[in-house]
Symmetry: C2
Subunit: 331 residues, 2 copies
């Protein structure tokens, strides 16, 4: 037998579909007797309204979508949990879409979620250029962007303060009397850009020059950092500290240092970024910058909710969530 429809409920209850709808939604008064009959029929049939039909008519889905670039990066699941905790009390739920590094999927998810009439959208994109996003979004669905994108011209935006945080971390090393501080993971695009900037800010602020040999190009992976650091050590570059673009790179750097017979943190201090679970598990435990995943999620969720309800109106906002330095063993 097929799913029961509202007409089935109405028939059993002996009323019209209209009355069933009003009895269930409470948008118009219904007599207690009719209401009781409706509820009995609902229970008997185990009736649940077809949300597609409801949403089509009401243009509300009570759902927001969170489009993330990589669900296996532990940062994003923690953000998602923050989002969920921020919106669920208001009766909204979040569906998560992971583009898994597939550029085409980013655009596909956004347009698809919009065509499914989600009430709001949170996106963090790696691959799709900003201009393309502008073409994808409609103006009606509230949108919050997460990450280091440009100014908030088409949406609200939540981001970390990577540059300031890394500068602070670098000064932590300087205060220890370390002067040969390397940066591993240097690129000028993506999240690495701001972090490298913070490193430079701190050194220049302390009156030190930027030694190109200490700005070590690498990616965000453990293996990449291991290779890059090993190469620098083989070359004989003097190093007494390393600021890494993220925790995985820091773990790779520590591996490379250990392989080369250096002791962390005595010979070389290492600082990561993100504070992933593994940061507290490795030995020595990683000194790192907390990326505030959960908090960023709650901030995104609350902001989006305010836009959906109309509580917040007016120009787009930018909210910065600073990331504190977590001092453990490696620096």
């Amino acid at each position: 037998m097929p799913r029961p429809r509202i007409a089935d409920v109405a028939e059993i209850a002996g009323v019209s579909p209209t009355t069933v709808s009003h009895a269930l939604s409470g948008r118009r008064p219904v007599s207690p007797e009719a209401k009781a009959k409706v509820h009995a029929a609902v229970k008997e049939l185990n009736y649940r309204a077809n949300q597609l039909a409801v949403s089509l008519r009401t243009n509300r889905t009570q759902t927001i979508a969170f489009v993330m670039p990589d669900i296996t990066n532990p940062f994003y699941p923690m953000v998602a949990r923050g989002v969920q905790d921020a919106i669920s009390d208001a009766g909204y739920q979040v569906v998560i879409c992971s583009t898994d590094g597939n550029a085409a999927r980013e655009a596909a998810f956004i347009t698809d979620m919009l065509s499914r009439a989600v009430d709001g959208l949170i996106i963090d994109l790696f691959r799709t250029p900003f201009e393309a996003v502008e073409r994808l979004v409609d103006r009606h669905t509230p949108l919050v962007m997460l990450g280091p994108m440009k100014a908030p011209t088409i949406s609200d935006r939540v981001r970390g303060d990577d540059r300031v945080s890394v500068a602070e971390a670098t000064r932590h090393l300087l205060r220890q009397g370390r002067t040969r501080i390397a940066f591993v993971g240097a690129t000028r695009i993506g999240p690495a850009a701001g972090r490298l900037g913070g490193y430079e800010d701190a050194l220049l602020g302390a009156g030190l020059a930027i030694d190109p040999k200490l700005v070590i190009r690498s990616d965000y992976s453990r293996r990449g950092a291991h290779t890059a650091v090993t190469a620098a050590l083989v070359e004989g570059v003097p190093i007494d500290a390393i600021v890494c673009v993220n925790d995985l790179a820091a773990i790779g750097a520590i591996d490379a240092l250990r392989d080369a017979g250096r002791v962390v943190p005595d010979d070389v201090a290492v600082i990561g970024f993100d504070d992933i679970d593994a940061a507290a598990l490795v030995r020595p435990a990683l000194t790192t910058i907390d990326n505030r995943a959960y908090e960023k999620g709650t901030v995104c969720g609350r902001l989006l909710l305010q836009r959906i309800t109309g509580e917040l109106d007016g120009p787009f906002r930018e909210i910065v969530v600073p990331g504190p330095l977590i001092i453990r063993e490696s620096a």
Copy 2:
């Protein structure tokens, strides 16, 4: 201005909405001229069909839902990636719902996804009892259950072979001549049950008795295992190896052993379960059982797809994905 509707496209193209629909779907022939005009209008308006309306009529959403208990447990994101990779080529997409340990949310997500007419459902539930799930699901939407639930009476099912895997791991320790092997994380419910069973199978198979002092009750956390193992060591229980219910517990156990002055693996060998990222990052690197998250995801996805397309029909199937032992440094 509001989202363009199919009627807007029809008006600009100078044809009827019917013809627009046929031109876009190709379900009936349309003259080349009409088709060209339709496509021009679509482009001009940047028209995208309202998927709510499409799905309401066609009863297809090209979407499956994956309901997981905890998105911050790295096992599930990896499963999700496997699912996505298995179904996306067939034109389906997956939305992820994390219940975050909230029991009410489990039922809510299932019923909600069904009322949104998803084409299929993959669920892994911690809290909702099996009987309750039976009441929630309708018979029309294909369903795959993941995890150690009972026999597949209402759905297909994909699970690991924890019992066999842990028995194999335990025999690995026995072959090293270790005889005082403990199990940390003992409970008789959930995933722990099968793993404890495998431990017992191996010992009994080798002619050894089960020493109750070596069956150490704990949970799935690092801290819990640390506490439990420390207590056993203080008590003076002789131990030369530990099989842990998961990797986090194994890491906690290693911490406790180190704190007590024992060397891993020389004095005490340790084996985990799951092969989370951190397993390869800690020192000593963890010998563990690969939980095959990605493979389980692809298996779930393929199975579900076959049910959706009707390619697979008939009685519910159970697919077992065995998990191999990954030998690293800790055992």
